[in-house]
């Protein structure tokens, strides 16, 4: 008997308007658990090699958290995996809140959407009933506007909606999917949804979620809810992630003016502390969250009066310091319009800062920008650019492709400062001053992302010298990557990570109390290793090569000009040997390929047949 899980995956083909149910058993679910793990498995099985990310053959694969809708704090989440239109590799994302709960209560462990609708469509999943509704009436609407309108159509607050905004409709490559004001944010899932002419997915679930041992589970989760009000989450509960601004600035890590500098003279007025004093309305939680990290802020006067949004550090750095903008009202406004237009605020901010540097260097002119003069710090121009990108107007059409493709088109040396890894724009930490993290992102399966490994902790907390690299970092990074991965499979929010006594035994027990499926700490510890290899296998099958595991030119050539990290730059030779040490720690070949024997050991026999390599004679790295 299996609890919480239903063993059912819903497959929907938008081209034929048909759906069918795939049954999976406890052994299968135990291997991938849910969230990113299960979504990645579904993506591997449903996205053919060489698929066009914006073609009908790409699959948008949703997988629920096993804890969604229960009192397990911060577990009401879901994962989404697809082939990313930015990177061409796995796009594995997370979101959470009410949509995730309804997803679980509708009785599905996963939902796989393929094909392309002939016209704009809203997919309505009402328990096990699947309907294809006209989506034309919502075209042009923003993300949360669409959700309210779709819910209004049904007149039932139990209908929860994931939707795209105009950016997704216009296939902006970093468009996102929003649900309940939370985002499946990075790697362009909104463009994939837009390419399928799918404006929204509405879900209503009426089924109770049964668990194996309700009383014990309640006791265990109550303990965690209490711990989650303690020191392990203090940062997130008080100022939220915007507290990073002043910390990163003091360390010389805050990306400033398109990653040229790492100290921003205007950091004070875009800090978490400043929000608290001048703009804060309230801290808000996702469904099932006991922490409430989201700091809602509003603009009370001036030209952006009335703008309001829940702020996090990443969007804040991207449109703030990285665009040289020190006005919190402008930041609040820009993040709000990015969310509503349906674009990843991180990628979009880095794209705007890239455009600003092109302008300041004279690579693009006022005419190219249709009369705008986007110097660093010009918030009016930045706001306009964001809108032009979402609607693909003028230069916005080029920028909507992301910095990698935009730099390829623009040329004239702009590639030097196109700040991306594998096509995904970088997050808010200058990697020259956090080098373990830099190596980790170079090898990361989704490119320039801070969230698929927690190795910046090693650099920031001084466990290692953050200004250099050596082969010992390979294994250290792998361990941080595995820990992030298991959280993404369960799914548990990373902000709960410091609240466990002994993570693997504790969570294995909670998993069994929930599902009734026996799980040991050792078995649980194997899951992220399996899932990470699966992500890598997905990438290999889609054409990944070793050259893709590399960093943008600026961080390898331009030393940081000033501040506490002055002079820091990444040595390419050190980077190369550390990457190879990482491959070795993973048990991969020196080319970064996965031996058949490893895949078989991890229970991925079918994948071993697809992409596994015989262990080459030349590969004498001398692994243990």
């Amino acid at each position: 008997m299996m609890y919480s899980y239903t063993g059912k995956i819903l497959h929907v083909d938008l081209s034929t308007r048909k759906s069918w149910v795939q049954e999976v058993d406890a052994d299968f679910l135990k291997k991938y658990i849910g969230g990113v793990g299960l979504a990645t498995r579904l993506a591997y099985d449903n996205v053919p090699p060489g698929a066009d990310p914006l073609g009908p053959e790409n699959a948008l694969c949703f997988a629920c958290s096993v804890f969604a809708g229960t009192t397990m704090p911060v577990g009401t989440k879901h994962g989404v995996a697809f082939k990313s239109p930015l990177t061409g590799t796995i796009g594995d994302c997370l979101s959470g809140s009410h949509f995730s709960e309804m997803f679980r209560r509708a009785g599905w462990d996963g939902i796989v959407i393929t094909g392309k609708a002939s016209d704009w469509t809203v997919l309505f999943i009402d328990d096990d009933d699947v309907q294809f509704l006209d989506g034309n009436r919502y075209v042009g609407m923003g993300t949360t506007e669409t959700q309210e309108a779709v819910r209004g159509h049904f007149g039932d607050e139990n209908v929860r909606v994931s939707s795209i905004g105009p950016a997704g409709e216009n296939l902006v490559r970093f468009a996102l999917i929003d649900n309940d004001g939370r985002q499946v944010g990075r790697c362009g899932p909104g463009a994939v949804m837009g390419s399928k002419k799918l404006k929204a997915i509405a879900v209503r679930g009426s089924q109770p979620i049964t668990v194996a041992d309700p009383e014990e589970l309640f006791k265990e989760t109550l303990k965690l809810i209490e711990t989650s009000q303690g020191p392990g989450t203090a940062k997130y509960r008080t100022l939220g992630t915007p507290s990073n601004v002043l910390n990163m600035n003091a360390m010389g890590v805050l990306p400033t003016r398109n990653f040229r500098e790492t100290v921003f003279e205007g950091a004070e007025t875009i800090s978490g502390e400043y929000i608290e004093q001048h703009h804060k309305i309230k801290s808000v939680g996702c469904s099932g969250c006991s922490i409430a990290c989201e700091q809602w802020a509003e603009v009370r006067e001036g030209k952006y009066k009335g703008s309001r949004i829940g702020l996090d550090y990443e969007p804040l750095f991207a449109v703030g310091s990285n665009c040289g903008i020190d006005s919190m009202p402008a930041v609040i406004h820009m993040v709000q319009i990015e969310d509503e237009l349906g674009m990843d605020a991180m990628s979009c901010g880095v794209v705007v800062s890239f455009a600003m540097e092109c302008y300041e260097q004279g690579i693009l002119t006022k005419e190219d920008f249709g009369g705008l003069e986007p110097n660093f710090g010009n918030d009016d121009a930045a706001v306009k650019l964001i809108e032009m990108i979402a609607h693909r107007e003028g230069i916005g059409d080029v920028l909507a492709e992301g910095v990698r493709r935009a730099a390829e088109q623009i040329g004239k040396g702009s590639e030097h400062f196109a700040m991306h890894i594998k096509g995904l724009e970088l997050p808010g930490y200058d990697v020259r001053s956090l080098q373990t993290f830099a190596m980790g992102m170079a090898v990361g399966t989704r490119g320039g992302c801070h969230n698929r490994a927690l190795s910046y902790e090693l650099d920031v907390k001084g466990v290692v010298d953050r200004f250099s690299l050596d082969p010992s970092r390979g294994k250290m990074h792998m361990e941080k990557e595995n820990f992030a991965c298991i959280l993404d499979c369960l799914v548990l929010c990373k902000f709960l990570r410091n609240c466990f006594d002994d993570f693997y035994p504790d969570v294995a027990r909670i998993f069994t109390l929930t599902t009734g499926i026996p799980m040991t700490a050792e078995e649980l510890e194997e899951v992220p290793v399996r899932v990470h290899n699966l992500k890598k296998a997905f990438n290999i099958r889609q054409g990944w090569t070793k050259e893709d595991d590399w960093l943008p030119p600026r961080v390898l050539k331009d030393p940081i000009p000033s501040g506490p990290s002055k002079g820091a730059v990444i040595n390419p030779d050190d980077l190369r040997v550390t990457i190879e040490a990482y491959y070795e720690a993973r048990g991969w070949t020196s080319e970064g390929l996965i031996p058949k024997s490893l895949l078989i050991e991890l229970g991925l026999d079918d994948i071993a047949e697809d992409i596994g390599v015989e262990e080459a004679v030349a590969d004498i790295a001398g692994s243990e």
């Binding site: 809708g69 229960t70 009192t71 704090p73 709960e101 209560r105 949360t144 309210e148 139990n158 309940d180 004001g181 009426s206 089924q207 109770p208 979620i209 049964t210 668990v211 309700p214 309640f218 109550l222 809810i225 989650s228 009000q229 309305i281 309230k282 801290s283 808000v284 939680g285 996702c286 469904s287 099932g288 969250c289 006991s290 922490i291 409430a292 809602w296 309001r308 829940g310």
Partner: protein
């Protein structure tokens, strides 16, 4: 009874983060499964920042009791919560219409009205209060609430006076 008014669960909207853990815990306690639609307490969230939780307020002159045409609803002599006589209730829903707070739910399985009973069978009192991570929920009486409000306002006024 020392205090006027019955104890009931209230929510401080300034503290409520909209997490709905109270709904999850209530439905688990009352039905054995996580099923917010069966929860006796519901969070109302008018996006993005307006939110609070609502459950039975044990009204002094309870309109639900008056509305019930079959006299299925009575008041507990012990703590004042609304008792539903399952033999008399046939799920007509008039009590739901009468309730100004939308605090009564119709159980689709039993076809009976279901109302907060303050978890009298639970050792630690109402589960929703126990699970609330931000102490937004509180079991209180109108009199206790009055006292608390008075103390808070006086403390604040004197603090302001001292600052001047």
């Amino acid at each position: 009874m020392a205090n006027i008014g019955y104890e009931h669960v209230i929510c401080d909207p300034d503290k409520c983060i909209g997490c709905r853990l109270c709904e999850y815990a209530c439905s688990l306690t009352k039905t054995g499964a996580f099923d917010p639609s069966m929860s006796r307490i519901r969070v109302v969230r008018i996006e993005p920042v307006t939110m609070t939780a609502i459950t039975c307020r044990l009204c002094e002159d309870a309109p639900c009791i008056i509305a019930c045409p079959r006299d299925a609803l009575t008041r507990s002599q012990e703590d004042g919560h609304i008792l539903v006589d399952e033999d008399r209730c046939d799920g007509c829903g008039w009590c739901i219409e009468a309730c100004d707070f939308g605090a009564i739910v119709l159980d689709p399985k039993t076809k009976d009205a279901a109302i907060c009973d303050l978890c009298q069978d639970q050792e630690n009192g109402p589960r929703c209060v126990e699970v609330c991570p931000k102490d937004a929920l509180e079991l209180t009486t109108p009199e206790k609430l009055r006292q608390k409000t008075r103390r808070a306002v006086v403390a604040r006024l004197f603090e302001e006076l001292l600052e001047q």
